[in-house]
C-alpha cells in the first residue's frame, strides 16, 4: 500500500466517523449519571442510583408522590383504617397489632407476561424475614409476622405492632424467577451472590414497571425499553439509556455535546452550584428545576465537649451564623434554611418552634452571660482563661461544604468564637470519627430520611453508637432525652394524623430548644432536562421521579 493510498483510507475512515449520528433521536432519552448501581436487586445494597434506576422498572406497592402523599402504585386502594383495609387487632401475647389488607392490581404483569400475584408478595415477605438473604433494608417485611393469602390478588399481612407506617410497602420480587434461586441458595446463605438480578439482570421477568432492563454493562450503562405487558400509561420512549460519566466536568460537556439529553438530578448527577453555573452560561438551552429535598444539612455539636455543654454557647453559635445569607450567596436562596430536621413540605412539620434568625448582638450577649469575654486577639475567654475555640470537621474535598465552613468561620469569629477547620475524607469521617463520636467540636454533614420516618436513628437513646452495639445507629450527637424517646415511640405507632402532628410538633420543639445540632438548610435537588421533555416531575424524596416515568415524553 502506497503512502497516498494509506492517507486516502485514513481520510475515508475519518469521514465515516464524522458522519455517524452524534445525537440520539427523540424516541430515546439518554440520562447522564455520575454513579452506577452495584446490583439491581431492590433489597440488596442501598444506593441512591439503584433506587433511581429501579424507579423505571419496578413498581412499589405504595409510594409517596410529588406532593409527598402516599399513593397506591401496584395496589387498587391504599390500605387505611377508614376504608376498613387496615384494623387494630389483639395479639395472643396481649399486645396490639394490625391486619393490613393489600389488594394488588389485577392487570399487573412481569415483563415476561406472568401476572404479579400474592404468591410474589408472600415470597418477598418470606425472603425479607430471612436474615441470610443479606437484605440491607428488610424492615418493611419484618414488620409483618404473618401473611394470609385470600386469593391471587388479595393478601392480609399481620403486624405485631400498631405502626403509623402500616400502609407503606415496597417492591415485590418475582417468585417464578427468584423462587428457585432462593431455594437453591438459602442453606448456604448464598442468595446475595446467586440472585438473577445480579447474574442476569436483563431477564424480563424481573421487572413489572413501565420499562424493563434490556442492556446492562456494569460500570458503563443501563438500557431500558418498554415492558410489553405494562397495563398503565404507555411509556413515552422506545428506549431510555442511563449512561455513567463519573467526572462532573465531563458530564456537563456530554450534555452540551448532546451525547446525553439530561442529567439525573436526584443526587446522582451534578451538584447545585454546577447546575447554577450551567444555568448562568446556558439560560435558555435547558429546563432547570430545583426541588427541596429530605437531605438535611446541619452541624452536629459534640455534647462531650465542656464548651458546648452550655446551652447559651450553642445558642450563640446559631444566632451568630448568618444562614440566610449563606444560602442566598452560595445557592441563590434555593436551599431553604432549616429550623429542625423536618422539611416544611412534610405533613408533620410545625412552624411553632423556636426560630434563630441571624442576631450577632444577641449571640454576644449570650456569650457574655455565660462568662465569655473577648480577649486581646478577639477570641473569647472565660474566667480561667480558656479560649472559646472549637474544631470544625466536614468531608474534605467537598468544595461546597468547605465554602460553607469558610462563611461560618467568619460569622463566628465576629462573635468571638474561634473555629479551627479539621476536615477528613468522607470515608474517615463517617467510617470512624462520627461513628465512634470522636469529633471534638462541630461536624457538618447531611442526614437523609424517608418521608414519614421517625427520628429514631438520629435522636433516640437506643441508637447512640457504642462499642456494645457494634457502633450501630446514627445518633452521633449522643442525644438522650427520655421525653424525646417516648415521643418517638408514640409517633411510630399513632394512626390519627392530628395526634401524630402534635407529637411531631413536640419533638421539633424539644430539638429546637435543646439545640443538639445547628440546623443549616434543606438541600435542593438540581435538575437539568431538555425543553422537549414533558411530564418530568421530581419528588424531592426517596421515591424518585423515575417511579412516575411512564408520564415522561418528548413534546410533539
Amino acid at each position: 500500500m502506497t503512502f497516498r493510498t494509506t492517507l486516502a483510507a485514513l481520510g475515508i475512515a475519518g469521514l465515516m466517523m464524522a458522519a455517524a449520528p452524534a445525537q440520539a433521536a427523540k424516541d430515546q432519552l439518554t440520562i447522564g449519571v455520575a454513579q452506577f448501581p452495584s446490583t439491581l436487586h431492590p433489597n440488596i445494597d442501598a444506593e441512591v442510583i439503584k433506587s433511581y434506576t429501579l424507579g423505571f422498572v419496578i413498581r412499589n406497592i405504595t409510594a409517596f408522590d410529588k406532593d409527598w402523599k402516599n399513593t397506591c402504585l401496584s395496589c387498587t386502594e391504599l390500605p387505611s383504617v377508614k376504608n376498613g383495609t387496615a384494623k387494630i387487632i389483639d395479639l395472643p401475647n396481649g399486645g396490639k397489632g394490625m391486619e393490613v389488607t393489600i389488594k394488588l392490581k389485577p392487570d399487573l404483569k412481569w415483563a415476561d407476561g406472568k401476572p404479579v400475584t400474592t404468591k410474589d408478595l408472600e415470597f418477598t415477605w418470606r425472603l425479607g424475614r430471612d436474615p441470610k438473604t443479606g437484605f440491607s433494608n428488610s424492615q418493611p417485611w419484618t414488620r409483618a409476622v404473618k401473611i394470609d393469602i385470600i386469593d391471587a390478588t388479595t393478601a392480609v399481612l399481620t403486624l405485631d405492632k400498631v405502626l403509623a407506617s402500616y400502609n407503606e410497602w415496597d417492591q415485590i420480587l418475582p417468585e417464578h424467577i427468584e423462587g428457585p434461586v432462593y431455594e437453591k441458595a438459602k442453606e448456604a446463605g448464598d442468595y446475595i451472590k446467586q440472585t438473577t438480578y445480579a447474574r442476569n439482570p436483563t431477564t424480563p421477568g424481573l421487572y413489572n414497571g413501565p420499562y424493563m432492563v434490556t442492556g446492562y454493562t456494569s460500570g458503563s450503562q443501563v438500557v431500558l425499553e418498554p415492558n410489553p405487558y405494562w397495563a398503565g400509561t404507555k411509556p413515552g420512549f422506545k428506549r431510555i439509556v442511563l449512561k455513567l460519566i463519573e467526572n462532573t466536568a465531563a458530564l456537563q460537556a456530554n450534555l452540551l455535546s448532546g451525547d446525553v439529553d439530561m442529567i439525573g438530578g436526584e443526587g446522582v448527577g451534578l451538584s447545585i452550584d454546577q447546575v447554577l453555573e450551567l444555568r448562568k452560561q446556558h439560560p435558555d438551552r435547558f429546563e432547570y428545576l430545583f426541588k427541596p429535598s429530605l437531605n438535611y444539612e446541619h452541624i452536629d455539636l459534640q455534647n462531650g465537649n465542656p464548651l458546648l455543654k452550655d446551652l447559651r454557647v450553642r445558642q450563640a453559635l446559631i444566632y451568630a451564623a448568618d444562614r440566610k445569607t449563606l444560602t442566598d450567596r452560595l445557592f441563590q436562596g434555593l436551599q431553604p434554611v432549616a429550623d429542625t430536621w423536618v422539611n416544611p413540605l412534610s405533613a408533620n412539620f410545625t412552624k411553632d418552634t423556636l426560630h434563630y434568625p441571624f442576631d450577632l448582638p444577641k449571640a454576644k450577649a449570650l456569650l457574655a452571660e455565660a462568662g465569655w469575654k473577648p480577649g486581646p486577639d478577639g477570641i473569647c475567654r472565660d474566667a480561667a482563661g480558656t479560649r472559646l475555640s472549637l474544631e470544625f470537621a466536614t468531608t474534605a474535598g467537598n468544595r461546597l461544604r468547605e465554602l460553607q465552613q469558610a462563611v461560618l468561620q467568619n460569622n463566628w469569629k465576629a462573635a468571638c468564637i474561634e473555629v479551627r477547620i479539621k476536615n477528613e475524607p468522607a470515608r474517615t469521617l463517617f467510617g470512624e470519627t462520627m461513628k465512634k463520636r470522636s469529633y471534638s467540636g462541630l461536624a457538618m454533614y447531611a442526614w437523609s430520611s424517608s418521608v414519614t420516618e421517625s427520628p429514631r436513628r438520629t435522636l433516640a437513646t437506643d441508637n447512640i453508637p457504642t462499642e456494645a452495639n457494634g457502633w450501630g445507629g446514627a445518633n452521633y450527637i449522643n442525644f438522650s432525652n427520655p421525653r424525646m424517646d417516648e415521643l418517638i415511640t408514640k409517633a411510630e405507632s399513632v394512626l390519627d394524623p392530628d395526634e401524630a402532628k402534635a407529637l411531631w410538633a413536640e419533638m421539633e420543639q424539644i430539638y429546637a430548644k435543646e439545640l443538639p445540632v445547628i440546623p443549616l438548610f434543606f438541600r435542593s435537588e438540581a435538575h437539568v432536562y431538555p425543553k422537549w421533555l414533558k411530564g418530568y416531575e421530581p419528588t424531592g424524596h426517596g421515591h424518585y421521579g423515575s417511579m412516575f416515568s411512564e408520564n415522561w415524553r418528548a413534546a410533539e
Binding site: G431, E432, S450
Partner: protein, 317 residues
C-alpha cells in the same frame, strides 16, 4: 536463558504473594467498611441488619483470617465475588481488561511510533528548529494535566465540531467496529499525546548520546549510508534505555489510566481498581492490583529479553 526465565517466574510468584498480603493489609487498615458505606445511603438500616451483613460478607472476622481464606480460595481457582458488582470477580475483570487492552494497546503503539519519529528527528540536529518544535511538543505533553487535555478534546471534537462522541464505549444498538473506533478516538488521542511527550524525550536523549559514540564514527568512516547509521546502528543501541522505559510504562498503563477512563466513561482496569478500593471491594481490588503487578513484572522480563536481542554484549545468567 531458560533457567533465567524460570528463576524470574518463581520470583514473580513470590512478589505476587507478598504484594497480596501487603495490599490486603493496607485495605484492611482503611477506615470504615462497606456496610458503613451502605448505611450512609440507607435510611432505616438497623444495627442488627448491619451486623448481619457484616457476617454475610465475612467482615466480622479478623483481617488475617479473611486473608487466609481469600488466599486458599484463590489457590483453588476461586477468585471470589465482587461485592460492588454483585458478580464473580473474573466476570467483572474480563470486560474491563478487554476495554483497557483496546485503549492502551492503541495509544501505546501510536505513542511509540510517534516518539521514535519525533525523537530521532529531533536528535539528528540538536538545537535546530525541528528539535525546538519537538521539545516544545514533548514538554507540553509532559506538563499538561491529562484531565485538562481530555476536557479540551471533548470540548473541541464533541461539543464544538460534533465529530466524535464525548464519552462511552459504544452507541446503544450499534457497537460495531467503526462505532467502537469513534468512541475510542478521543481517549486514545489523549493518552497518546500524554505518553508521546515523555517517550520522545527519552528517545531524543538516547539517540544524541549514541550518535556521539565511537562506533557510529567508525560506521560512517567505513562508508555506511546515513540511513543505515541512524536506523541500524544508532537506533538499535538507543533502544536499550527506551525499552526499559516502555517496560515500566506498560505495566502502569493497565492500571494507571484512571483519569482518562473516568473522563471518557470507559470502564477499564484503572477505574475499576480505583472504584473497588474506594468501596472496599477487597476481592476485585486485590485481583486487579495483582494483575497490574503481574503485567509490570512480565513487561520487565520481556524488556530483559529484548536487551539481549538489541545488544549482543548482554548475557542473561
Amino acid at each position: 536463558m531458560l533457567s533465567f526465565i524460570t528463576r524470574r517466574l518463581l520470583q514473580t510468584l513470590v512478589v505476587l504473594l507478598v504484594m497480596s498480603f501487603v495490599i490486603y493489609g493496607l485495605m484492611g487498615l482503611m477506615p470504615g467498611d462497606p456496610v458503613d458505606i451502605m448505611a450512609a445511603s440507607q435510611p432505616g438500616m438497623t444495627p442488627e441488619v448491619m451486623a448481619n451483613l457484616r457476617a454475610i460478607y465475612g467482615l466480622d472476622q479478623p483481617l488475617m483470617v479473611r486473608y487466609a481464606r481469600w488466599l486458599m480460595a484463590v489457590l483453588s481457582g476461586d477468585f471470589g465475588f465482587s461485592r460492588t458488582h454483585a458478580r464473580p470477580v473474573l466476570e467483572v475483570l474480563t470486560p474491563a481488561l478487554l476495554q483497557t487492552c483496546k485503549l492502551m494497546l492503541a495509544s501505546f503503539t501510536f505513542s511509540v511510533i510517534l516518539s521514535l519519529v519525533l525523537g530521532v528527528s529531533s536528535a539528528l540536529k540538536p538545537g535546530g528548529w525541528i528539535d525546538g518544535f519537538v521539545s516544545l511538543f514533548a514538554f507540553a505533553g509532559i506538563s499538561v494535566p491529562i484531565f485538562w487535555l481530555a476536557l479540551v478534546l471533548i470540548l473541541t471534537f464533541a461539543v464544538g465540531l460534533q465529530w466524535l462522541p464525548a464519552s462511552g464505549m459504544g452507541q446503544v444498538g450499534d457497537f460495531g467496529f467503526w462505532d467502537q473506533v469513534r468512541h475510542l478516538a478521543l481517549p486514545v488521542l489523549a493518552l497518546t499525546l500524554a505518553n508521546t511527550g515523555q517517550f520522545t524525550r527519552y528517545v531524543r536523549a538516547a539517540m544524541i548520546e549514541t550518535l556521539q559514540m565511537d562506533f557510529i564514527r567508525t560506521a560512517r568512516a567505513k562508508g555506511s549510508g546515513s540511513r543505515r547509521v541512524i536506523f541500524v546502528h544508532a537506533l538499535r543501541n538507543a533502544m536499550v534505555p527506551f525499552v526499559t522505559i516502555m517496560a515500566l510504562s506498560f505495566g502502569s498503563l493497565f492500571s494507571g489510566a484512571l483519569v482518562t477512563e473516568t473522563m471518557f466513561a470507559q470502564m477499564g482496569m484503572g477505574k475499576m481498581i480505583y472504584d473497588s478500593i474506594l468501596s472496599n471491594d477487597f476481592n476485585l481490588a486485590l485481583i486487579g492490583l495483582l494483575f497490574a503487578t503481574f503485567t509490570t513484572l512480565m513487561a520487565n522480563l520481556l524488556a530483559d529479553l529484548a536487551y539481549v536481542a538489541l545488544d549482543p554484549r548482554i548475557r542473561l545468567e
